[in-house]
């Protein structure tokens, strides 16, 4: 697994909620300490395989209460792809 997709949530509670959702859906993931350059949100992040991105996005959007920032691994650092707000909409 390349772990080239990074999800960051506003709170640790939401990160752990996402962990639970991904585990329930059988999606491989790893909870890590958030990379230093991403300054906002909580101290944790979840890394996943980019190939799973569409499925993950659907899960996060359908939860309706899991605002999240999606990052991809760039050449030198993580780059923001998009955000989903608390109502499950693209922000």
């Amino acid at each position: 697994m390349s772990k080239d997709l990074l999800l960051v949530f506003p709170t640790t509670h939401l990160t752990l909620m996402a962990e639970k959702v991904f585990k329930g859906a059988g999606i491989k993931h790893r909870t890590i300490m958030k990379p230093r350059k991403i300054s906002s949100d909580c101290g944790l992040a979840i890394t996943l395989d980019m190939e799973q991105a569409d499925r993950i996005r659907v899960l996060v959007e359908s939860s309706g209460h899991m605002p999240a920032a999606f990052y991809c691994k760039g050449e030198n650092d993580w780059e923001l792809l998009f955000r989903i707000d608390g109502s499950g909409e693209m922000a």
């Binding site: 506003p10 709170t11 509670h13 639970k20 101290g43």
Partner: protein
């Protein structure tokens, strides 16, 4: 030989605690070394433990979103957050004369400082109120209705479901309903989403059988409160102001990890035993107490005296005797622990006509037996015989 203690003061705090609650707390102290959100990966184990406890509590009260469960020091802290965090100048509140001081005092401050108007519905001489009494006091300015799910003085149950279902039909600005479940959580079934309860305050250490220093407030989505405590939340540290997201918005500072972990264990324990089974057990003990004490000459019982409308809490007095003397006799001569006085609820005692002396309150729990409550009845009978009343 030391006489065993018969503990009948579970309405104050339950005792003993289930083995797994004690073990959960000890394990947390031993193994969860780091502060959640503040100690790198070592803190993650603590975070997960808090998350699991929050999920357990949320499921127990019927909340599909565990972030709406705010851990607090006790029910009093939860009630203070709900009342002080919500009310603003010009608001109107409907409450009842069966309030505990943990409701009455924050409301009094809201009246003094913010000019909030508080209408206290008067209970009857058994401490009971009807849904109609509450509903007819609602005005367009009513922001909050406070209900005591079960009285800590009489055990009387207030019609929370009925009131919530009527409040749902109110046109315009629907008042919010705050339920003080200090005595009922763990004994009466509670489903915040089905009943549409807006705010629910619960202690961990009473009928949930968790440790002291734990409790929680459920906040329904869409209900906005101002935090009473602000500070570090372990995340979003770049923000100058308190974050908006729950539970962080209301949980600044290092949390009581061992206590909350043990509370999660306690709620799991109560769920496994079953609230209906617990209610049935306490009703059986209450029936023995009610029938036994009411047959003693000179004894006066207060409240509904009916297990169908009362939890396992019973107040009584003996004619011509100070309740403190009765409590002292029970403890020193029989090792029976009860609570005497006003039970931090003077307005309840005014309602049932026992102010300012108060009553003797008997409150069995899940670990009490029929022999325990029978021993209390026998002790009171012996006391009356010794006084020459019988």
């Amino acid at each position: 030989m030391t006489r065993p203690t018969i503990y009948l003061n579970n309405a104050a705090t339950s005792w003993p605690k289930p083995q797994e609650v004690m073990e959960g707390m000890a394990r947390a102290l031993r193994e969860l070394v780091a502060t959640p959100g503040r100690s790198g990966s070592a803190g993650l184990a603590s975070e997960r433990a808090l998350f699991e406890a929050r999920e357990t509590v949320a499921e127990f009260i019927g909340s599909s979103d565990s972030s709406r469960v705010i851990f607090t020091l006790n029910a009093t802290a939860a009630l203070n957050l709900a009342i002080t965090g919500l009310l603003e100048a010009g608001d109107h509140v409907v409450t009842t004369s069966m309030d505990h001081n943990s409701v009455a005092r924050p409301l009094a401050r809201a009246a003094d400082v913010k000019g909030v108007e508080v209408h206290r519905v008067q209970a009857d001489d058994q401490g009971q109120i009807s849904a109609d009494q509450i509903i007819e006091k609602i005005t367009p300015r009513t922001r909050l209705i406070v209900l005591t799910h079960a009285s800590n003085v009489t055990g009387g149950i207030q019609p929370v479901e009925e009131i919530c279902s009527i409040v749902r039909t109110v046109d315009g600005n629907r008042p919010l309903v705050l339920v003080d479940a200090a005595q009922s959580a763990g004994v009466l079934p509670i489903d915040v989403e089905k009943t549409e309860i807006d705010l629910l305050a619960v202690p961990g250490h009473k009928s949930l059988y968790g440790p002291q220093g734990t409790g929680f407030l459920y906040v329904r989505p869409g209900v906005e409160l101002i935090p009473l405590v602000e500070g570090g939340t372990g995340g979003q540290s770049t923000l100058e102001r308190q974050p908006e997201e729950l539970p962080d918005r209301f949980e600044s500072g290092t949390p009581n990890v061992p206590g909350i972990v043990a509370l999660g264990q306690a709620v799991s324990y109560i769920s496994r035993r079953g609230v209906e089974n617990i209610r049935s057990h306490e009703s059986r003990l209450l029936r023995i107490l009610t029938e036994g004490l009411s047959g003693i000459k000179g004894a006066a019982l207060f409240g509904p005296c009916d297990p169908s409308s009362q939890i396992g809490v019973l107040s009584f007095l003996l004619e011509g005797m100070d309740p403190a003397e009765i409590g002292s006799f029970l403890e020193t001569s029989r090792g029976i622990i009860v609570r005497v006085g006003l039970h931090c609820s003077p307005c309840s005692h005014r309602s049932i006509g026992t102010f300012p002396e108060g009553t003797v309150r008997v409150s069995p729990g899940i670990f009490n037996t029929e022999d325990d409550v029978q021993a209390l009845v026998e002790a009171v009978r012996d006391l009356q015989r010794a006084r020459g009343v019988m």
